[in-house]
């Protein structure tokens, strides 16, 4: 069991009278790719916030390589090897694409990949000198992924990586992640089913803050209950 990277056990979180998450378990192994899906309001982003230590769960625990990470300062969590891509692209608009990646690299405890290679990986080599604020939406998302890679993470958490992307960009992003799979663990929170289908990985389905189903994507896709939830029948 030594290859367990991230383990969330019995995680619950309560905002006042609202039980936002209840009894969630997630185990991410080293170099594993998995997805968390669910309709809007299912608690996907909240769960991701708990996984990154941003939110402290009211019950249960989140351990990364055996450390309890709840409530650690952001930069400490980053240095443990957890990279996070936010839902809204939050690149540094006044810096060039290259400087964005540099800033990300400088924050890393032991950066390995040179800036040029990182830009190559996210298909932005030809935009290196462009201010990040001028990039197209999809390219900003890729730049974010590139910045997340710069810190040589053990675990990459992606919050709706394809939000606002065109179908082509969505598939290109899925390809990018499949290429990166095997280098580190990736957890992606998504509600775009095409994207998850393209990744075809272990999937956890959330509904109203609880686990609805979990398993390989082709099992999930054919599940009646999941279909009902997604189509709004329940």
């Amino acid at each position: 069991m030594s290859d367990i990277l991230l383990q969330a056990e019995n995680v619950g979180i309560r905002f006042g009278g609202l039980q936002a998450l209840e009894a969630l378990n997630l185990t991410v192994r080293d170099k594993e790719l998995c997805c968390i899906i669910g309709p809007n309001g299912a608690g996907k982003s909240t769960f991701l916030n708990v996984l990154t230590g941003t939110l402290r769960p009211t019950s249960g625990s989140v351990r990364f390589l055996g450390h309890d990470i709840a409530g650690l300062p952001l930069h400490r969590i980053a240095r443990l090897g957890i990279a996070r891509k936010f839902q809204i692209p939050s690149v540094f608009p006044s810096l060039s694409v290259e400087d964005n990646v540099k800033v990300a690299r400088w924050g890393a405890p032991s950066p390995v990949r040179p800036v040029g290679e990182l830009l190559e990986l996210v298909a932005l080599s030809n935009r290196a000198a462009t201010p990040a604020g001028e990039l197209a939406h999809g390219q900003k998302q890729w730049l974010e992924i590139g910045m997340a890679l710069a810190i040589e993470p053990r675990l990459l958490l992606l919050d709706e990586p394809t939000a606002g992307m065109t179908p082509q960009e969505t598939l290109a992003t899925a390809d990018m992640l499949l290429r990166l799979k095997g280098e580190f663990s990736i957890v992606a929170v998504e509600h775009d089913i095409r994207f998850v289908r393209a990744l075809n990985c272990e999937t956890l389905v959330l509904h109203q803050g609880r686990r609805l189903r979990s398993g390989p994507f082709h099992d999930i896709e054919t599940d009646e209950m999941v279909r009902d939830v997604y189509l709004g029948r329940r």
Partner: protein, 328 residues
């Protein structure tokens, strides 16, 4: 080297050349005028190093100028202390750094940013001025301390005596040039890039592993230390120190110098300080009450029309011509 850096170095070299030939054309009085303006220019550069790179406005920067000034005055006026000038400068820099480190620690690590920081520093300036007025047994109260001797010290057999106009002008110019160049090289490299990133999105920078509060704190302390140095130099040249040196008026003026010269350029604020003080003297000689009115108007115009300062006129003209050419 990118074009922006080359342009900056060219302008810097031109300014240094101008500073070198200036004494050949003017007399002693004019030299002391420009010398004092340069000290305020150094003060403006210190504010710009913080404000220009972090985007956080410090509205009480004169507090550090005043702290430096008072420490310098108290040390050099004490006959029991030998090497008073050097010790005074070191004490002034260290004192301003210490005070800024204590305040900055609580503000930055407490998550105080933006206008809240500006307001706290505004109060800080008022407190310093009030302390200087009220603690009269040490600070001399309202009238301040007079008779501060000019800087004089020996370094390795070389005797430096700044009681004359020309040596003091050379000494001040050299310090300003070296400090501005040093601040520029810090702020254009890795340090400055990360500060820009923090200014853009602090949470994101932290998520990438940068200790944003610490970086802001160190930048703030460095900025305050240089303001303290400028204060120390000023009181030795003027021969007196008064509560005004940490007052609200000076805090406002230094903001105007930076805004006029161009925030984030370091060199611009020095030029802005010299330019505005010269204008102030000329205009006040017609009518003393005209100046505050004009200063206010200039400030408003700068903020609305030239938010990047007077140095940006050149860049704007260039962009205009380029745009014109492309349109043809």
């Amino acid at each position: 080297m990118i074009a922006r850096d080359r342009n900056w170095l060219l302008i810097f070299a031109a300014c240094v050349a101008l500073a070198i030939i200036y004494p050949f054309f003017v007399g002693g009085y004019q030299l002391t005028v420009i010398r004092d303006a340069l000290i305020f220019g150094l003060f403006a550069a210190s504010l710009d190093f913080f404000w220009g790179r972090t985007g956080i406005l410090c509205f009480g920067h004169a507090a550090f100028f005043g702290i430096g000034g008072y420490i310098m005055a108290l040390i050099t006026l004490n006959d029991a202390i030998s090497f008073a000038s050097l010790l005074g400068i070191i004490g002034a820099v260290a004192g301003a750094a210490l005070v800024s480190a204590i305040i900055g620690y609580f503000l930055f690590f407490g998550g105080i940013r933006g206008s809240y920081f500006t307001i706290v520093m505004l109060a800080m300036g008022v407190i310093c001025q009030q302390a200087a007025v009220s603690w009269s047994s040490v600070t001399g109260g309202d009238s301040g301390l007079i008779g501060i001797p000019p800087i004089a010290f020996d370094v390795g057999g070389l005797h430096v005596d700044l009681s004359q106009d020309l040596p003091s002008y050379i000494f001040v110019s050299a310090i300003v040039a070296v400090t501005v160049l040093a601040l520029w090289s810090i702020s254009r490299g890795r340090w400055g890039t990360v500060l820009t990133a923090i200014q853009d999105n602090e949470v994101r920078a932290a998520a990438l592993g940068h200790n944003a509060p610490l970086r802001l704190l160190v930048t703030f302390v460095l900025s305050a230390a240089i303001a303290g140095l400028a204060g120390a130099l000023y009181v030795c040249m003027a021969g007196l120190v008064a509560p005004d040196l940490s007052g609200l008026l000076l805090s406002t003026e230094v903001i105007v110098w930076v805004a006029v010269g161009g925030r984030g350029t370091l060199l611009g604020p020095v030029l802005g300080a010299i330019f505005i003080q010269r204008a102030q003297q000329t205009i006040s000689s017609f009518n003393p009450s005209l100046w505050p009115l004009l200063l206010g108007c200039v400030f408003v115009i700068i903020v609305f029309v030239l938010p990047d300062g007077i140095l940006s006129i050149y860049a704007r003209l260039k962009a205009l011509f380029k745009g014109g050419r492309r349109a043809q």
